[in-house]
């Protein structure tokens, strides 16, 4: 096996040095009744070219962009990934390193993630952003636990306009410890409706903006409402690119921001890995879950970076830690930083604006052919339309023509009438949109 450097002779010499007879004898600490009897039942090993062929074949069984025209987002977005992004992120010094426990030989990762923390903090309008979390959903769930810890209260108000999967993850995290999740509905405009909410013991209000319907939430108003009751405002997002042109959540009063950064240079990858972006105001730093990188100096006074504030973490505090998280999605954070550096301020704005324009075009044209917008609030690159009954059948046939357009969100929102969530990004051309429209035009 090409990954093993041991020659027969090496093994013999090593066993001799150790003073055992055979490889099997190394396992003398394993009682006989714990040993496996037979050998594992796994497919025969493949040499590299057989493996390539097998994987090509399996990969070929999936509908993937660019062969697919994608007018669908809902938590994963198809954005162009500049070729330099993976080329740099995959430099083996970055890719094959562990968490930077030894700063003297990890300054590459450390500076890069410190830069990520900084860029992310600026975009989200936060003081501090962690070195990453698993994904937007788990970041959001953990940020609610943070709010609970910080406020000492035990209820969280969660908008129904948050991505349904995110809400499910919140349930998973909060259920066993008995924290209560109160759901808030949404208005005709498509944003979170706080009327009639019972704020008793509310630690936080969680909203997403742009929300699952694509609508931009009035965060300032939500902040006022939450703060008025002593709750924190936790703002989430699934489409990080929107941070390029929307008012940032921090500037509108969010206390914690927890969202998904996949749009920043990560492939959709059937949903993972993504990037959990988690930031907070300065006074919440010591309740943040996960790793933080800080600036310091070496013995010669040269600047350098280290993992810091470890006393929040599990390896020091064990069950009293702010979270159990250990490995995070650091490489995804590195990737996001490279992506942001590549776009720069101007590129980010232009990219965001292009996304908005494409989506606006699609929305206008759908409206023209009888699929009206369901909500009236401004949207970024996603929106919900009410489709005619026959649309589902057409949509299915489109898959064969290489178009995946819209997602029915009926099951999640039974009160809406045949609602479909659409998305358009910079990668889809007007010609492609028009081709799709021609297919669905009645």
């Amino acid at each position: 096996m090409r990954y093993f450097p041991h020659t027969e002779e090496d093994i013999r010499r090593m066993l001799e040095t150790i003073g055992v007879e055979s490889l099997d004898a190394l396992f003398s600490g394993v009682p006989p009744d714990c040993r496996s009897s037979g050998s594992m039942n796994l497919p025969d090993p493949l040499c590299e070219w057989e493996l390539d062929r097998k994987m090509d074949e399996m990969a070929g069984q999936n509908a993937a962009v660019p062969n697919l025209t994608l007018l669908l987002g809902a938590g994963r977005y198809h954005h162009h990934i500049p070729s330099i992004v993976p080329a740099l992120a995959n430099r083996s010094e970055f890719l094959t390193a562990y968490t930077p426990y030894q700063p003297e030989i990890s300054q590459g990762t450390l500076q890069a993630i410190y830069e990520y923390q900084t860029l992310a903090a600026r975009l989200m309008g936060m003081d501090v952003v962690t070195a990453s979390h698993y994904d937007g959903a788990t970041a959001l769930a953990e940020s609610l636990l943070m709010a609970v810890r910080k406020t000492g209260k035990s209820t969280v108000v969660v908008s129904r306009a948050i991505h349904p999967h995110f809400r499910q993850v919140i349930q998973t995290y909060l259920k066993p410890t008995g924290f209560v999740v109160v759901e808030a509905g949404f208005t005709d405009e498509g944003t979170t409706d706080l009327t009639g909410i019972d704020w008793t013991d509310a630690a936080a209000l969680a909203v997403q903006s742009p929300n699952f319907f694509g609508c931009v939430e009035p965060l300032s108003r939500h902040a006022d409402a939450a703060h008025g009751t002593g709750a924190l405002l936790v703002a989430s997002f699934t489409e990080a690119l929107s941070l390029g042109i929307l008012k940032n959540p921090g500037s509108q009063g969010a206390d914690i921001v927890a969202g998904e950064g996949q749009s920043f240079g990560l492939p959709m990858g059937f949903g993972g890995p993504g990037l959990g972006m988690l930031g907070a105001r300065q006074d919440l730093v010591r309740t943040l879950p996960g790793r933080l990188i800080g600036k310091t100096r070496d013995r010669n006074g040269n600047p350098g970076f280290v993992l810091t504030l470890a006393t929040r973490e599990q390896h020091i505090r064990r069950e009293k830690a702010t979270s159990n998280i250990c490995s995070n999605n650091g490489h995804c954070a590195l990737t996001a930083a490279i992506y942001l550096a590549t776009l720069g301020a101007e590129g980010l704005v232009r990219m965001a604006r292009t996304n908005h324009n494409k989506a606006a075009y699609l929305a206008e044209k759908l409206q023209e052919i009888g699929m009206p917008l369901v909500f009236s609030a401004p949207f970024f690159n996603e929106f919900v339309v009410q489709a005619p009954p026959r649309f589902e059948a057409v949509r299915r046939t489109l898959m064969e023509k290489g178009i995946l357009a819209g997602l029915s969100i009926q099951t999640h929102y039974p009160e809406l009438d045949n609602p479909y969530l659409f998305c358009a990004t910079e990668t889809v051309s007007r010609a492609e949109i028009d081709r799709f429209l021609a297919e669905v035009k009645p």
């Binding site: 396992f27 394993v30 970055f94 094959t96 426990y101 952003v129 890995p273 800080g294 070496d298």
Partner: protein, 487 residues
């Protein structure tokens, strides 16, 4: 002394990203607009441009190329970080994960459009079951700690379903910090138990604390001293008798593939670290993947959606598990990490995986045998995938584990894990993995022996280490005292 220090060479300087930026630059080009411009209303649109530095493409390339050269990876050299299984990360795995047919698949594509993806997930689950001796798996957990959390949630849900509430969980003192933290997230109070004189947990100890208010035990096997928990079968019986469950932290599975079937010896739930045992790159801090595996009776509690084989053929995703602990992540886990692990398992096969474990154990024991005369070995028994020394013999010269670690850098090695496990003061936890060659081990041993000599003869030199790196020791105290977390 035959060991040569690493050389020092040209190391480019590189400022912070925003010190490089210059308004007017951009690393991406845009096509002509083909749709009309539509402004967002003022009340939602930002009035200023975000404060992101502007660079041209080559600036970005140089920035990150230079930063990368300040790092040390497995590709750079031996990385014997204990408990982290820093084995070689095969390049072919990267090729497979980079295939457009995997990387560019939307997670909400209809089932007909992701049969290859689902098949891979399904087969990987099966493979992992086979390797651990468990019955069912979920690939959702995003890392080891997340797998632990999934496991704890399963314990919790199983108890709830039986109408039980238990408040405690037994965790040995050798456990990784994530274990108590994960348990705490589910409201379990960890009961720390001490391992016995030979470094393993004694059944007796468990018998003394296991009761009807205890959900079970979380036990790492092999444990973080690199030792097999030989009394585990008996421990399982004790825990089961009292209506508890046995959770195994399988992060150290690299010692036991094809050797021990965790399922057969009584484990009910286990998680694996694909980014350790199954060779996926750690990426300087993740993403990893921490699949959770269970015995048949716990299958209903696994996270949803689950990958299922449809009766009419093909694969699907199903939410129809009412007892499930629910969803652990936004979609289905770190699929692209799973592709790498699948690629690894298919490349090695059963015999290859078993041999990986045997050689990993061989390497660890070789280091144990060749260093134990100069470094204190708290538990002098054959080890499995790693061996744990301490700095006790160096303390007379005022040289500690941290100094040994830093000095190793000068010899071109990544240091081992230090000061963990906590049960050994000043521990030096060395996990070479199977992908290190005898020559590399010999060089490492030579470096360690040299450092021990240096500690005696010239401790100041060791205190001053590292001297070859572009920065010297960093002030971590200051960093924590006055945190500067953003520029």
């Amino acid at each position: 002394m035959s060991i040569q220090m690493a050389a020092s060479g040209l190391s480019m300087n590189e400022p912070l990203l925003w010190e490089r930026g210059r308004s007017g630059r951009c690393g991406v080009d845009f096509p002509e607009d083909d749709v009309p411009d539509r402004m967002l209303p003022d009340d939602v649109a930002a009035s200023t441009v975000p404060d992101i530095p502007a660079l041209s493409e080559i600036d970005v390339v140089r920035h990150y190329t230079r930063l990368s050269t300040w790092n040390f990876g497995v590709d750079t050299g031996m990385y014997p970080l204990g408990s982290c299984t820093m084995k070689y990360n095969p390049k072919t795995n990267e090729r497979q994960a980079g295939l457009g047919g995997f990387a560019n698949v939307h997670p909400l594509v209809p089932e007909s459009g992701c049969q290859g993806v689902l098949r891979l997930m399904y087969e990987l689950e099966q493979d992992l079951c086979e390797i651990t001796g468990m019955d069912a798996a979920s690939l959702q957990p995003a890392a080891g700690a997340h797998g632990e959390l999934a496991g704890m949630l399963i314990l919790h849900a199983w108890l709830s379903q039986r109408g039980e509430t238990r408040h405690k969980i037994i965790i040995p003192d050798t456990a990784h910090g994530t274990n108590p933290a994960s348990a705490a997230l589910c409201g379990f109070r960890p009961v720390a138990v001490a391992s016995g004189p030979s470094g393993i947990l004694q059944a007796e100890t468990v018998r003394n604390v296991m009761d009807e208010d205890t959900a079970g035990i979380m036990i790492t096997n092999p444990n973080t001293l690199g030792l097999f928990e030989a009394e585990l079968p008996e421990i399982c019986r004790i825990v089961h008798e009292k209506g508890g469950l046995v959770y195994a932290d399988g992060a150290n599975m690299n010692a036991l593939m094809g050797i021990v079937s965790m399922g057969c010896i009584g484990v009910d739930v286990i998680h694996l670290n694909l980014h350790k045992t199954f060779s996926t790159p750690h990426g300087g801090g993740g993403p990893g993947a921490g699949p959770v595996l269970v015995k048949r009776f716990l299958e209903p509690f696994l996270p949803v959606p689950r990958v299922i084989q449809r009766e009419e053929g093909g694969f699907g995703l199903s939410d129809a598990y009412p007892l499930s602990i629910g969803r652990m992540v936004g979609f289905y886990g770190h699929f692209l990490v799973c592709v790498r692990a699948y690629s690894y398992i298919r490349s090695l096969g059963a015999e290859g995986l078993r041999q990986a474990s045997r050689l990993a154990v061989l390497n660890a024991n070789y280091i144990r045998s060749t260093l134990k005369d100069v470094y204190h070995l708290p538990f002098d028994t054959p080890c499995l995938h790693e061996c744990v020394f301490s700095d006790r013999k160096l303390l007379p010269y005022k040289v500690g584990t941290i100094d040994v670690a830093k000095r190793l850098m000068d010899y071109g090695f990544h240091p081992p894990t230090i000061y963990f496990p906590l049960v050994v003061p000043g521990s030096i936890m060395i996990e070479p993995t199977e992908t290190e060659s005898l020559e590399e081990l010999d060089r490492f041993v030579e470096a360690m022996r040299t450092i021990a000599e240096e500690a005696e003869r010239n401790p100041d030199m060791v205190h001053a280490a590292p001297c070859r790196t572009r920065v010297t020791r960093l002030d971590e105290v200051e960093a924590a005292r006055r945190p500067c977390l953003a520029g």
